[in-house]
């Protein structure tokens, strides 16, 4: 094996912060090399140095690529040499077709005139290589994220990629799509494309990666080979301490019945006649943490949002009870008054006002709580924010800091603070640890435990089965808009959850056939 890339002692300083401190990375030709690390550890900065986003001269250290020193002046330079990065946020233009996107900036043209027949033909060829069966003229925006991801890879292939960098490629993908992507990575590897993958998902890494470099606080901690890869080892290197217990110890004492949903149904807001939630019934007791498992797109978020002030769907039917009495949840305000809170899955788009300071985000859902006769008491607002900052250990120089400057974990704590300030009896947490690093996850779990210990009910939606198994007293399994099973803590396992889903899918297919 020959070395394709060697980054030696890379140091990158931003005003006031040393983002990278003598990081070294060696990538062999033809391997899949994973980079792991907590959020803010410096993974993305390192990749930006490599791909020319930070040009030569703005960092210290040396990069040797293909036996030659690499002096990138910009992204174009590195793309010429076959180094192509696919960012977490896809860079496709939704209103253009696949073919138009693939050759954007690199058009199949002579003298400025595009040859569409040629472009379409090349597109078809590239799509075949990534295993995507869509016409080249299809509009990208109408395809799912998984397919868009494949188009990005096809785009990279069109540029004769030699080193492909994927920054958290599966973060937004459903499990099946993620699987397909990982298979494609292995396929590309077989065809000689060297790849670097940045990922939080340790199971994926152990599946595709040949070697792993762990980065912590801007320095490279270790490089492990395939045989040394184990989740515990990686976690230990990432956080710098042993995480024998990834979940806080908790004894559950479920109390009286708190929250009941009976026969809840609703329909798709636009597509007439498409029932999204089909007669769901579930309940949560005081002091209980209840999970909802299921694949993505099976209606879990839709269920939560439709209950929370009919924020999703139309034609709602069914009853919601608190303490055994039916409550009106027809608007968000009424749901909050009934003691329900919903922490959204997408905290940036739906949970926070990024350009506003922490304290104004925390008070948002309960402005009345800091006001007298509709006039805000800003002193009280600051006190409230300060209280939650301490209680939830939000790491920030002060509550006047804009939330856009916080890390994912701290942003999530701000969202939690906002809802805790409404003093809810039941919290619905939708993917509460998505995109959060391992250390912060533990803190979020601890907060959930504390909430349950205070006698509140927690309903947790998650696509990460280990965290459901680690945290929940009971788990409902949802599929195709229905609850297809309920497991207690003792009976639940990943296999049983999957079995319930698969069995249900078998039933529906059976009906159709």
């Amino acid at each position: 094996m020959t070395t394709l890339l060697e980054m030696r002692e890379i140091t990158k300083v931003f005003p006031g912060v040393k983002a990278l401190d003598r990081v070294s990375l060696t990538v062999e030709a033809g391997e899949i090399h994973a980079i792991c690390g907590e959020n803010g550890a410096g993974k993305s900065t390192l990749m930006k140095v490599l791909s020319g986003v930070y040009p030569h001269g703005t960092y210290e250290g040396e990069i040797v690529y293909d036996g030659q020193p690499l002096h990138n002046r910009g992204i174009r330079d590195s793309e010429h040499k076959g180094i192509i990065i696919i960012h977490q946020e896809l860079a496709l233009i939704p209103l253009l077709s696949i073919a138009e996107n693939l050759f954007l900036g690199n058009e199949v043209a002579s003298k400025g005139v595009i040859s569409w027949p040629m472009a379409f033909k090349k597109t078809e060829d590239l799509l075949r290589q990534v295993g995507l069966n869509e016409p080249p003229g299809a509009v990208v925006g109408k395809l799912g994220v998984g397919k868009q991801q494949l188009i990005e890879i096809a785009k990279a292939l069109s540029k004769n990629v030699r080193l492909l960098i994927l920054d958290e490629p599966t973060a937004a993908l459903q499990e099946a799509d993620a699987d397909r992507l990982l298979d494609l990575m292995l396929d590309l590897k077989a065809r000689g494309v060297t790849q670097i993958i940045i990922s939080h998902k340790l199971n994926e890494i152990s599946r595709v990666a040949d070697r792993i470099t762990v980065i912590r606080d801007g320095t490279s901690v270790s490089t492990l080979t395939k045989d040394e890869i184990s989740e515990d080892r990686i976690i230990k290197d990432m956080v710098g301490r042993d995480m024998a217990h990834r979940y806080p110890e908790r004894e559950s004492h479920p109390g009286e019945m708190l929250f009941e949903v009976e026969n809840w149904s609703c329909w798709h807001p636009e597509q007439a006649g498409r029932q999204m939630i089909k007669g769901v019934s579930l309940n949560v007791r005081k002091g209980e943490i209840v999970g909802i498992a299921g694949l993505m797109g099976t209606g879990r978020t839709e269920l939560a949002m439709s209950i929370f002030g009919r924020s999703y769907g139309k034609g709602h039917q069914g009853t919601v009870k608190m303490h055994g009495k039916p409550v009106d949840v027809s608007t968000v305000t009424k749901a909050i008054e009934a003691g329900i809170s919903y922490v959204t899955e997408d905290r940036k788009a739906l949970g926070l006002i990024l350009e506003e300071p922490i304290l104004r985000n925390i008070s948002l859902a309960n402005l009345v709580g800091i006001a007298k006769n509709s006039i805000l008491d800003k002193r009280r607002e600051a006190q409230v924010a300060e209280t939650y900052r301490k209680q939830l250990a939000i790491r920030t120089p002060g509550v006047q800091q804009k939330v856009v400057n916080l890390s994912g974990g701290n942003q999530q704590k701000v969202v939690l603070s906002k809802w805790l300030f409404t003093d809810p009896e039941l919290l619905i947490l939708d993917e509460p640890t998505r995109g959060i690093d391992v250390g912060a996850k533990f803190e979020i779990y601890t907060i959930m435990k504390d909430l349950a210990d205070q006698g509140r009910g927690v309903l947790m939606i998650s696509s990460e089965m280990p965290e459901l198994l680690g945290m929940c007293d009971r788990i409902y399994v949802m599929n195709e808009g229905r609850i297809v099973g309920e497991l207690t803590r003792d009976e639940a396992s990943q296999e049983k959850i999957m079995a319930l889903i698969v069995k249900d899918n078998g039933k529906t297919t059976g009906k159709v056939a």
Binding site: L352, L376, A382, G398
Partner: protein, 389 residues
């Protein structure tokens, strides 16, 4: 670290605006005296800045709320013209007394705002389209109501709205005693509010701006107010317009910064979906912003009509652009969610001072427009530059 920067950055913006205003005033003073004309900052000119730009400030107050909520209103010039025509029609043709005309006209303005806000808020039709339509519709409606002619003149009481001065209850008359008392009170209040905010900043753990900067700025403001107060008092006293303006500015500043509903408007503009999921009735707030804009447009329309002493088909042309320019010069974000009343007022004053200064200097309307356009562009570029830095 970042905390300090953002806090200073905030003060920097407002101080910069104020500095720009002072610099512009100084520039015109210099240029006017170089032409050998009477002093720029004399009482009639100062009075006129407020009389001639009162409507821009009033429109800009409403426009700020609209823009903060993430929308725009292009119809305010036409609505001002139409409501001015309604007021003229009610007063001159129907012979209604002033006390009935004013509330009726404001009501018409509110209804127009509601009609437009309904489509924007509840049907989610882009405000740009709805109010562009409104701009055409109400310009046409003005022509129709006036039959293509001017309607006027108005009784004295109606004109007092724009050209009257407060009576001198102290009986001193020269200089105007009550004006001086009000000016002194206003200075005291400004200093007190500044000190209180400073104290509160410290309590909240916001790094306060340096003492020298604070006192320097407060001194400049106090001196300017004392000067304006004295000049006004030695002329005809405090104009009614300025009283109305002050009340509205204080009211809107308080509303935007210290009330639940005011805060919610910022949330709607900052992230509508998050606001909605936090239990905020975003539709109703946007609707309310447009109703408010309609009422303020009617007030501005009446003031302009009263000043000209007649309602004309061409009244209010370009008002929407002046108001929007004032809001953006005042530092509001183009995407909604941020902007301050005080910034908007300074923005409107900058436009007003430039209008008057250039007129006195005899700068042609062609150059005036070009210069104003460039000032707007420069202000926004300055903002963007600061944000990216």
């Amino acid at each position: 670290m970042a905390e300090k920067q953002s806090s200073l950055g905030g003060h920097f913006r407002e101080n910069g605006m104020l500095l720009a205003l002072v610099a512009i005033v100084a520039l015109f003073s210099l240029l006017v005296s170089m032409q050998g004309k009477p002093m720029f900052l004399q009482a009639p000119n100062i009075t006129n800045i407020f009389l001639q730009n009162g409507h821009v400030i009033i429109l800009a107050l409403g426009m700020l709320l609209i823009i903060v909520s993430g929308h725009i209103d292009l119809s305010v010039g036409s609505v001002a013209a139409f409501t001015g025509a309604v007021a003229a029609w009610l007063t001159v043709k129907q012979g209604l007394p002033v006390w009935a005309v004013i509330p009726l006209t404001l009501l018409v303005g509110g209804l127009i705002g509601a009609a437009q806000g309904y489509w924007v808020a509840y049907w989610r039709i882009p405000s740009f389209i709805v109010t562009l339509a409104g701009m055409l519709v109400f310009r046409g409606a003005t022509l129709w109501l006036l039959g293509g002619q001017n309607i006027g003149p108005f009784p004295k009481e109606f004109q007092a709205m724009s050209s009257g001065f407060i009576p001198d209850l102290t009986g001193v008359m020269k200089p105007h005693g009550l004006t001086l008392i009000i000016a002194a009170l206003a200075i005291a209040i400004v200093i007190w509010i500044g000190l209180r905010a400073r104290k509160r900043d410290a309590e909240f753990g916001i790094t306060p701006e340096p003492g020298g900067l604070f006192w320097g700025r407060t001194l400049v403001i106090a001196a300017a107010m004392a000067f304006v107060g004295w000049q006004l008092a030695s002329f005809r006293g405090l104009p009614n317009v300025l009283v109305v303006l002050t009340v509205l500015i204080v009211l809107y500043a308080f509303f935007t910064e210290n009330t639940v509903q005011g805060r919610r408007i910022y949330a709607v503009g900052g992230n509508e979906k998050a606001a909605k999921l936090s239990g905020i009735n975003t539709e109703r707030l946007v609707f309310a912003c447009f109703v408010n804009m309609g009422v303020l447009a009617a007030l501005a329309g009446m003031m302009v009509t009263a000043r000209l002493n007649s309602a004309t088909p061409k009244a209010g042309t370009g008002f929407e652009l002046d108001a929007i320019a004032a809001v953006f010069i005042g530092g509001a974000s183009m995407t909604g969610g941020s902007g301050k009343i005080i910034g908007v007022v300074i923005g409107a004053l900058i436009m007003g001072v430039m209008n008057m200064g250039m007129s006195i200097l005899g700068v042609g309307i062609d150059y005036q427009q070009m210069i104003k356009g460039l000032v707007l562009l420069a202000a926004v570029i300055f903002d963007v530059y600061n944000k990216n830095k």
